[in-house]
């Protein structure tokens, strides 16, 4: 029988027992999250980012956008009216790390995709006050003049693949993606053709308005334009989402 006194006078034992007690608390809170699938809505349309969008997301993180912008519309009336449908857990299932955030110095961006034109985003990112006079957002003019470095895009996709994002490398993984997302999307998730796909998307959409080059602006705008657009909410009754809570 261990006496209280023996524990308190034995630093090594105290450390071990403390770790055990704290671990139990942590495990009880964390472990269920790995198994609790009932809270992730079953919706179609959510897919991992294309290589270009993925680079845009990395730039979003590099520039610290998340410090002022959240990406989670909460299920409140005022947020519904301003931003649109509240965010679903399913919508950030491929985000590692997720960009929910809790600090809104700027507006929430979870549903910004398609809300403004590419030209607006370009003008706004170069100097926000050109389009929103009262804005306090910093300028990001270098995005428009810095060529996008996509030499390591395959490695970035592989890193995400290890966390569970279904980018494909083998034929079996590709076939699985075709079955899950359809052939068109599956092609964009193919790691082996990442550079090719990235260039194709950037040149076809010309997000930054500079036809002859692919800049960081292309990537970031591509990312912003896809945010919150993957789920077609007209296909579901509102009550359906309440079943997951």
């Amino acid at each position: 029988m261990i006496k209280h006194e023996n524990i308190e006078t034995n630093a090594g034992l105290l450390i071990v027992l403390t770790l055990i007690v704290i671990s139990i608390g942590g495990l009880v809170e964390i472990v269920p999250l790995f198994y609790i699938n009932d809270t992730v809505e079953k919706v179609s349309g959510v897919r991992p980012y294309t290589p270009l969008e993925l680079r845009g997301r990395d730039i979003y993180q590099r520039e610290g956008c998340y410090l002022c912008h959240s990406q989670m519309v909460r299920p409140f009336r005022d947020e519904w009216l301003r931003y649109g449908h509240y965010s679903l857990a399913a919508e950030s299932q491929y985000d590692h790390p997720f960009q929910w955030g809790s600090k809104r110095t700027g507006p929430d961006l979870a549903r910004v995709g398609g809300k403004y034109s590419n030209a607006w985003h370009v003008a706004h990112l170069i100097n926000p006050r050109d389009v929103v006079p009262q804005s306090i957002m910093p300028n990001y003019p270098w995005l428009q003049t810095t060529d996008l470095d996509y030499s390591d895009v395959q490695a970035r996709m592989r890193a995400l693949k290890r966390t569970g994002v279904p980018y494909s490398e083998t034929q079996a993984e590709y076939d699985h993606n075709v079955a899950t997302f359809g052939p068109e999307t599956a092609n964009k998730l193919d790691i082996l053709h990442a550079e090719e796909n990235l260039m194709q998307q950037a040149l076809a959409n010309d997000y930054d308005g500079q036809r002859d080059r692919v800049t960081e602006m292309d990537a970031l705008v591509a990312y912003l334009q896809v945010l919150g657009t993957m789920v077609d909410f007209s296909r579901y009754d509102e009550g359906y989402f309440a079943e997951f809570r």
């Binding site: 269920p32 198994y35 699938n37 009336r77 009216l81 034109s117 309440a242 079943e243």
Partner: protein, 309 residues
């Protein structure tokens, strides 16, 4: 070490430990009321755990007890579930007092014609207050919170110049269906001299002083097949609204910032730049994002910003 040494502090008990010979620990009992309050919170927590959705169990979680919420789903069916914020939101959006009042006015607006809305002070008051929020949320990012626009990028909605027309019907169409403003780039068609000539003529249309010889040469290019400018901008230069072609005869400039400088050479340069590079501007369509009634409110609001025709 549990030898009960003499109590050093009168009536206060010690824990009985003695460290380094004479260092002891007081054992002051907790106040009874505090202790019972603590037990009460424990009991409260246990009850709360049961009543409130809380415990993860397998792939799901406990839903709590006695916390049903009933709401009307999108398809009209009535559903009851354990309490959660999503169900609460659905109920709030449908049955909340704000929502009911708003729906009442909205249906009134949806049923009314534009002429009826414009003539009815009560509906106009509602339009102004609601559309202001809609405008701020959806339109102000580009057109500015007062509709003043940004020269070179987004048109001013508060002045009398309209690229696509300023009547109620035209504004409605612009908002609902969007617009794609396009002027071809002439950098490969015109040489530098021709660019200067056409720009001179264009500037002369709104009364700017330009070189007369250049103006005459430019007019020829503008009005003939050579440039073909008159197809969209019309021979008089007033612009076809159906093409979104700018009126070049007024003093209002939406793309080249002509009024922003007094230097004639800079004015020329700015107009040349537009002719050389062309214009591609897109106004998104809102019919999928906004309801028909919301578009109606916005149409009236934009019409009333100052330039409605």
């Amino acid at each position: 070490m549990s030898d009960k040494k003499a109590r050093s502090q009168g009536a206060v008990q010690t824990t009985g430990h003695a460290w380094d010979g004479d260092i002891q620990e007081f054992n002051n009992p907790l106040p009874t009321w505090w202790l019972w309050a603590f037990y009460a919170t424990v009991v409260f927590a246990l009850i709360y755990w049961v009543l409130y959705p809380a415990w993860p169990v397998g792939g799901s979680f406990t839903k709590g007890l006695f916390n049903d919420i009933t709401f009307v789903d999108s398809d009209g069916s009535v559903k009851t579930t354990h309490w959660n914020t999503r169900a609460l939101l659905i109920r709030d959006l449908k049955e909340g007092e704000e929502a009911r009042l708003s729906a009442e006015y909205m249906s009134k607006v949806a049923d009314a014609s534009y002429a009826q809305i414009l003539a009815d002070p009560e509906m106009m008051a509602y339009t102004r207050s609601v559309a202001k929020g809609l405008f701020g949320d959806n339109c102000a990012a580009c057109h500015g919170s007062g509709g003043q626009g940004v020269i070179g990028l987004f048109p001013n909605l508060a002045d009398d110049a309209w690229l696509w027309g300023g009547s109620i019907d035209q504004i409605h169409k612009t908002i609902a269906e969007g617009r794609y403003g396009f002027m071809p780039a002439f950098r490969d068609t015109f040489n530098d001299k021709q660019l200067r000539d056409v720009a001179s003529y264009v500037l002369s249309l709104s009364g700017n002083k330009v070189d007369n010889a250049a103006r005459a040469r430019g007019e020829k290019i503008f009005q003939t097949q050579e440039g073909g400018c008159h197809y969209c901008h019309t021979p008089a230069g007033t612009g076809l609204k159906s093409q979104g072609a700018a009126d070049l005869t007024d003093q209002i400039w939406t793309i080249a910032d002509v009024n922003g400088t007094d230097d004639p050479a800079v004015k020329l340069e700015r107009v040349e730049k537009v002719i050389s590079g062309g214009v591609q501007r897109q106004m998104p369509h809102w019919s999928e994002r906004l309801t028909p009634a919301q578009i109606k409110l916005l149409t009236v609001y934009v019409h009333e910003l100052g330039g409605g025709q």
